[in-house]
């Protein structure tokens, strides 16, 4: 239909099917190379004897300040986490700022200070940067790009293709906090609830986990698209089936309430401080115990298992004991009418 092809729609950036079409239809052909084609969260690079992870992400969150964080903290944690999910120790970041003319200097100072604190907390250095100012209306307040480099832990080899039948699926905590917090902050939302973004650096949690077991096969931070999309991608890339149990997936009551009101499924709402781990079953207890030692993994739980049946499919046992497919999301979730 005419609607689909002529313009970029918001759904093209939503992480669902249209995003995938954009990547496979435009990006991959434009940049043809074997490393990009692996489509990991970050690129895995062999440079001499060093194994490095390299990742980039751009942050355009509106509002810029939100309960639990701000765009600066998010930009640091997001890239730190992408690198950590490659099984790497994040080391150096770059920061590129696009600022709208008229943006309050005090707000910029706050954001930069927050980036500095987040970098210190994650143990990374912001070592290079760039700033552009654009005329009023050309950008919305401030956009931030961060790229980062990390060194892959010795002997660690993680990839979304490595989930195996028999693996346990571990989730590090409650879901949907970040996405619903941002949604509620948008100006035209008339109701209030006390939600807070979960933005946090996960590299120390990952380090504990990798030290506890050499049998971690996949790590993934379920950001845009949520846990449901991340599990589907892993099921497809590893050609396995995934079974999860709804009653083991934590959603805070306030978050669940807002989701319910708007017709959103928490499984598809963004997280910024959570991870999924696929671990060989005999190692699951060890990994869980290590996670429980870390503030970001206190509520970690086994939420499911990898099976050989129905490769490429995620099935959930529901709270009442029924079962259903957890499909790939096809567009951004839209609030429903009633």
């Amino acid at each position: 239909m005419a609607d689909k092809k002529q313009h970029i729609l918001l759904d093209h950036g939503g992480g669902g099917q249209l995003s995938h079409e954009l990547i496979s239809g435009l990006m991959l052909p434009a940049f043809r190379n074997d490393i990009l084609a692996q489509l990991n969260d970050g690129a895995l690079l062999d440079i001499g004897a060093n194994r490095l992870a390299f990742s980039t992400d751009t942050y355009v969150v509106d509002p810029v300040f939100f309960p639990g964080g701000d765009i600066g903290e998010l930009a640091v944690n997001g890239t730190v986490n992408d690198i950590a999910m490659c099984g790497a120790v994040p080391l150096f970041l770059s920061a590129g700022l696009v600022v709208e003319e008229g943006f309050a200097m005090a707000d910029l100072e706050k954001i930069l200070a927050s980036m500095g604190r987040a970098a210190d907390a994650a143990g990374v250095k912001v070592v290079t940067g760039d700033t552009k100012v654009v005329p009023r209306g050309v950008a919305d307040k401030i956009f931030i790009n961060t790229s980062g480099i990390g060194q892959i832990h010795a002997g660690v080899n993680l990839s979304a293709e490595k989930a195996r039948a028999g693996d346990c699926v571990i989730l590090s905590g409650s879901i949907a906090d970040h996405g619903m917090t941002i949604l509620l902050q948008r100006e035209e939302m008339a109701f209030e609830a006390r939600l807070q973004s979960d933005t946090a650096p996960l590299n120390f949690l990952v380090a504990r986990m990798l030290a506890a077991s050499g049998e971690i096969h996949v790590l993934r931070d379920p950001t845009r698209g949520g846990v449901g999309s991340a599990l589907n991608e892993i099921a497809v890339q590893s050609q396995v089936g995934i079974r999860i149990h709804e009653d083991r997936i934590a959603v805070k009551p306030a978050v669940a309430g807002v989701c319910d009101l708007l017709g959103f499924e928490p499984l598809y709402v963004a997280n910024e401080g959570k991870l999924l781990a696929f671990v060989a079953a005999p190692h699951a207890e060890k990994v869980l115990a290590a996670m429980h030692e870390d503030p970001c993994g206190r509520d970690a739980a086994v939420i499911g298992e990898v099976v050989a049946e129905n490769p490429g499919t995620v099935v959930m046992e529901t709270r009442i004991g029924g079962s259903r497919i957890v499909p790939m999301l096809t567009g951004e979730q839209l609030p429903r009418i009633c």
């Binding site: 035209e188 709270r319 609030p335």
Partner: protein, 363 residues
């Protein structure tokens, strides 16, 4: 019930107990229609079908507000968005619904001022803060949303916000149930009636329907257990030849409904013949803005010239809404019509039965 502070039964045990009773009650195959889109979604999300005996078929009815909005009405929304200085405020679901040539989402990408809101009162605020814009709220939905939209019009009148109007495209539930029974080819043994709509109109609103057509009806809530309980009541009625109205959602649905909401609705709106997608025009099944409030009626404020159009060829949304076909029986389903590229609104709305089938592999 709790024992030593813990629930005496887990949700799984409770659901299993309901399922066992439903199996005991079923004597023959039966087709039950859940009228409301929120029920459809709850049934899929909870995997309720996987707990039911094979004799029970659940059909999704005409209770998804986006799905029953006629293509011609969508075209009118798009025509409005193209008028200079007009800001269109709409519920999110409508953004992707295809009109004849475009969607609101695509119009927004083209630079039209289209805002997603969560209530008509949000749209009224946009109007109050943007006096140079003419803000039109698109009023779709059932008796559930109509009272708040009526309230926004009354408030606009009180506060003298004259750059606000509503394009009313509301639908009413009882008339479509009757139309369903009158149309040919529909075989339904019982209705699961909507919970939210019934909060407003009360159980009494269905009595004439139940009396006239002699069919089992149960008003149901939206939790999995609510739905299982209502299905059990329907199965028992069908088995015993019952034809009664039962209210299985008494914790919020009263016999009379909500008199204040109803009064507000009747102050602002009056019944009008309305077009339903794929079903056609049903007498007195919609709402129009009364004369006293016509300065807030977008149909009066703007000269909207929208040519009559049919539904897209091959789209079986009408048959799906009437329970004559399940989504996989539509020739376009999954082949041409997908959530990323929807032909009919049943594939667009998160509550549409085609989208629910597609997402949860209902076939």
């Amino acid at each position: 019930m709790t024992v030593n502070g813990k629930p005496a039964y887990s949700r799984k045990e409770l659901a299993a107990a309901f399922a066992a009773r439903i199996r005991d009650a079923v004597r023959r195959p039966m087709r039950l229609m859940e009228v409301c889109g929120t029920h459809t979604v709850s049934i899929f999300r909870n995997g309720i079908r996987t707990l039911l005996p094979p004799e029970i078929a659940l059909l999704s009815g005409p209770g998804c507000p986006v799905c029953v909005t006629a293509q011609q009405e969508i075209d009118a929304f798009i025509a409005l968005a193209r008028i200079e200085k007009v800001t269109v405020a709409t519920f999110g679901d409508l953004m992707r619904v295809p009109g004849t040539l475009s969607t609101l989402r695509s119009e927004k990408a083209d630079g039209r001022d289209i805002r997603m809101v969560y209530s008509a009162l949000d749209a009224l605020n946009i109007a109050a803060h943007n006096p140079d814009r003419r803000v039109v709220f698109i009023g779709v939905g059932f008796e559930t949303t109509a009272p708040t939209i009526a309230a926004s019009i009354v408030m606009a009148a009180d506060r003298g916000i004259n750059n606000f109007s509503v394009l009313a495209a509301h639908k009413l539930v009882p008339p479509v149930l009757a139309a369903l029974m009158e149309s040919g080819g529909v075989q339904i043994d019982g209705f699961l009636l909507p919970g939210h709509v019934s909060v407003i109109i009360g159980a009494q609103a269905y009595l004439p329907f139940v009396q006239q057509y002699g069919i089992p009806c149960v008003i149901a809530g939206f939790e999995a257990e609510d739905i299982l309980n209502a299905i059990l009541k329907l199965a028992r009625q069908v088995a015993n030849g019952g034809a009664r109205l039962e209210n299985a959602y008494k914790r919020v649905v009263s016999f009379e409904g909500n008199p204040r909401a109803l009064a507000l609705m009747h102050t602002v709106f009056e019944p009008v013949d309305a077009p339903w997608r794929g079903i056609g025009t049903i007498a007195a099944s919609g709402l129009k803005i009364r004369k006293d409030f016509s300065r807030f009626d977008a149909r009066k404020v703007f000269a909207l010239d929208v040519p009559e159009t049919g539904e897209p060829p091959g789209c079986a949304c009408g048959d799906v809404l009437m329970g004559r076909k399940t989504p996989p029986q539509c020739a376009l389903y999954k082949r041409i019509c997908t959530p990323a590229n929807p032909v009919g609104p049943c594939m667009v709305s998160s509550e549409g039965s085609c989208a629910a089938y597609y997402r949860y592999h209902g076939d």
